[in-house]
Amino acid sequence: MEGHRLAPEHKLIDENGKRRDGREWNQLRPIKLEVGLVKNADGSAYIEWGKNKIMAAVYGPKEVHPKHQVLPDRALVRARYHMAPFSVDERKNPAPSRREIEISKVIREALAPAIIVEDYPRTAIEVWVEVLQSDGGSRVAGITAASLALADAGINMRDLVVGCSCGLIDDTVVADLDDTEDKEGDGDMPVAMMPNLNWVTLLQVDGMYSREKFQKAFELALEKGREIYAMQREALTKKFFGGEAMTAQVEEEAA
């Protein structure tokens, strides 16, 4: 059963304040982003975040099927978050679980505010997120990749969406929980936002947070999200303007 908490088997924070993988409380795992790997898709992006390996692809704007789902004034946004059977320790049944159905919904609702849906009436925009390997924080990693895939597809957007999860381990607020920290820790708080507009588009909380720690974890997620936002922009400029040397030039021109 998902959702239940395990008794801590591991010491999650050592006497020097370091986490199991040597990270500080507010440190992210390494993140690698690449845009445009699924050739058939209108847009795609791949993310490696810690041991997470996730591919996101976008098709659209395209015709809506079944037709009765058409929205007369805007695009219909669909999202599916799916975990490959081999992405976790014990083989996962490939049929969509209740968890995946809920995550698909919140991912859709996290991405949709960034899409200018009014520009594409009577069409569908489909976002497919496939978790190839999962390591805690896969929904926020999926959102981070999916918003790059949307941008890669050339869909009109207000901003990119970036996700980051924070939480509590040993009752301490930490950034970016990995699998063990998520399962054995005291709480998880995935957050997604549109940094330029300062909009939070996904917020889920579980655990037990004092009002003070709730705010601290939430604000840490926003702060870390902005760091990842810079990586997203770099990945996009790399695809469209070729390489990091160009990035500086593009930034200069933009300024």
Binding site: M1, G3, R99, I101, R108, V200, M208, F214, Q215, L222
Partner: protein, 270 residues
């Protein structure tokens, strides 16, 4: 349940609602952080171990608790099982349909489950009979009987009041064998989570949106708090965003309104 009736009517009605809310008023005369009247009847289903029919305005929810024994999860051998499930009955609204649980019903059950679980409302370690072998299994099944908005809070109140009044058969362990007795004991309820949902319509954040307000809302946020002022669960919904300061404001509103509601629910179940 989001009701999508008629595009033109919806758009006109929304403009009207937004205008009214900007003046600090709601269609039914409530204040912005005022919830609808809550009615709780417990013990309505004699064959259940605990049950509650809860109305929040015209939203009506029936929750039933069934306790049995079963095997624990291998990774939590010393804990009982607690599962919340929800079904939005086809009779509950002209927009509900029979069939496998909708995305909405799944989200509803999971968000309410999270509030109960993360607040540690039921002490699962007290539901262990024989470690790694036999534990109590507590199923809380929810029937949504009538939909008039804010299913999250109404469901949460029904689940919490049903659990608070639930009893279970006492089992005794003899040589690692579990035997039922005639005696009943209360389900070990320790904490009191209360869920408060706010919707943003136009620029206003309003507590406990009804169906009409939900059809005009851009964003919804549910925050569950406990009696010690902790935040235990939250879920933002709908295809729009929320400013960070509004999240914190919503947390404070949930703590404040939640403590009033906790008192009401406590009275109804003591």
């Amino acid at each position: 349940m989001a009701m999508r009736k008629n595009y033109v009517v919806e758009t006109i009605r929304k403009a009207q609602l937004v205008e009214l809310l900007a003046k600090g008023r709601r269609l039914d005369g409530r204040g912005l952080d005022e919830h609808r009247p809550i009615r709780v009847q417990t013990g309505v289903i004699q064959k259940a171990n605990g049950s509650a029919m809860v109305s929040l305005g015209n939203t009506q929810i029936l929750a039933g608790v069934k306790v049995a024994t079963g095997t624990p999860f291998p990774d939590t051998p010393d804990q009982g099982l607690l599962v919340v499930n929800a079904e939005i009955l086809p009779m509950s609204s002209p927009y509900a349909e029979p069939g496998p649980p909708s995305e909405e019903a799944i989200e509803l059950a999971r968000v309410v489950d999270r509030g109960v679980r993360e607040s540690k409302m039921v002490d699962l370690t007290k539901l262990c009979l024989v470690k790694a072998k036999t534990v109590y299994t507590v199923f809380v099944d929810v029937n949504v009987m009538n939909v008039d908005g804010n299913l999250f809070d109404a469901t949460s109140y029904a689940v919490v009041t049903a659990l608070r009044t639930a009893t279970m058969k006492k089992y005794v362990v003899k040589d690692d064998k579990v035997e039922a007795t005639e005696e009943t004991v209360p389900v070990p309820v320790e904490r009191f989570p209360v869920s408060v949902t706010l919707a943003r319509v136009g620029e206003s954040l309003i507590v406990d949106p009804d169906a009409e307000e939900e059809s005009a809302m851009d964003m919804r946020i549910t925050i569950t708090t406990d009696e010690d002022g902790n935040v235990c669960a939250s879920q933002k919904g709908e295809a729009s965003g929320i400013l960070p300061q509004q999240v914190l404001q919503a947390a404070d509103t949930s703590l404040r309104v939640g403590s009033q509601i906790r008192e009401e629910l406590m009275k109804a179940t003591s």
